[in-house]
Symmetry: none
Subunit: 182 residues, 2 copies
DNA sequence: GGAGCTATCTATAAGAC
DNA sequence: TGTCTTATAGATAGCTC
């Protein structure tokens, strides 16, 4: 979209990077505004510059959308009596697991479809699928560790103390599902 | 940007509006992704469709950015001196972070190489890259939660008890680097 | 009813001032 | 440093199947 094509990689020159940030941020907000009007939807964008300065765009407002987003996540998982951090973490992990599961299904479909492509494309996919699984492995491993950690804590008297500590909020990431080739 | 110029006003036809929403949302997320990479900044986008379904994009994750935005008087993760299970978990996360970083580099290289391929293969890659990032986001989110959790525990007296409890082993996944097309 | 196509419109990388 | 210009890359509206 400019005189020359640029690679999507960190812009090294600080000056150019600042200009790029400013231009593209403006463009992004404009696009977001158009989307909200055209489709009548609510949207919020938050960006932190390199200098850690916050820029935001929201319709009707960042707070409204973000709050709604956070509530959505919280509502969808409290069926538990004891409301402490570990339960929230566990509930969160369940959602993450679900998402990972969905991804796994998609990956499987991909592998199957991959066999219908020419050799080069197929190899390409296989390699990617492999990395996918490794990444999933990492996620699952992390979840396991957290779970174990939580379990240990729950059986200890620490629970009594922790219940009175401030807790990390729970949120939900939405996985946009999209998959199709040929 | 299309066969015809359109006015920025609500698209009346529900079907067309849905298509527009889907296309532009994808485009917006792609732009946000480019911005975060080009300028090395953190960004989060949350959108609610007409059906009130949430869609989000975040680098490193929606959670991180939104939390940072809301608190706006941010985090402080001391480089702590206590040595026990939590430190092991933290060390583990550092390795995982390194691995994710490596993957990110590979993905970036892939995007660049992708531009040299035919259109179909390219689109294919872009989609995959996107999902990669989503998975990475999940991993990062999990890591953050564990970190937060650990931090909370560290400042409590529980540490004394936990130090005597068996601990989840530390592991390391080896990422097989491999990338080749063309 | 979602994927692919392409003519056309829009965003923006470099320049110029 | 900011603003304006312009050639070009990129996004997408309308369409097809």
């Amino acid at each position: 979209m400019g005189r020359r094509k640029i690679q999507i990689a960190v812009v090294k020159d600080p000056n150019t990077r600042q200009v790029t940030f400013s231009k593209r941020r403006t463009g992004l907000f404009k696009k977001a505004n158009e989307l909200s009007i055209l489709c009548g939807v609510e949207i919020a964008i938050v960006v932190f510059s390199i200098g850690n300065k916050p820029y935001s765009f929201g319709h009707p407002s960042v707070d409204v959308v973000v709050t709604k987003f956070l509530q959505h996540a919280t509502n969808s998982n409290d069926a538990l009596g004891s409301n402490n951090s570990s339960n929230e973490v566990v509930g969160d992990m369940e959602r993450l697991n679900q998402q990972l599961s969905d991804l796994q299904t998609q990956i499987l479909e991909e592998e199957i479809k991959g066999t219908k492509h020419d050799e080069r494309l197929k190899q390409h996919e296989v390699t990617q699928v492999f990395q996918y699984k490794e990444l999933q492995g990492l996620c699952l491993e992390l979840q396991r560790k957290v779970k174990d950690y939580v379990d240990e804590i729950e059986v200890s008297e620490c629970m009594l103390l922790l219940a009175q500590e401030p807790v990390v909020g729970v949120r939900k990431e939405v996985i946009t599902k999209k998959r199709r080739k040929n």
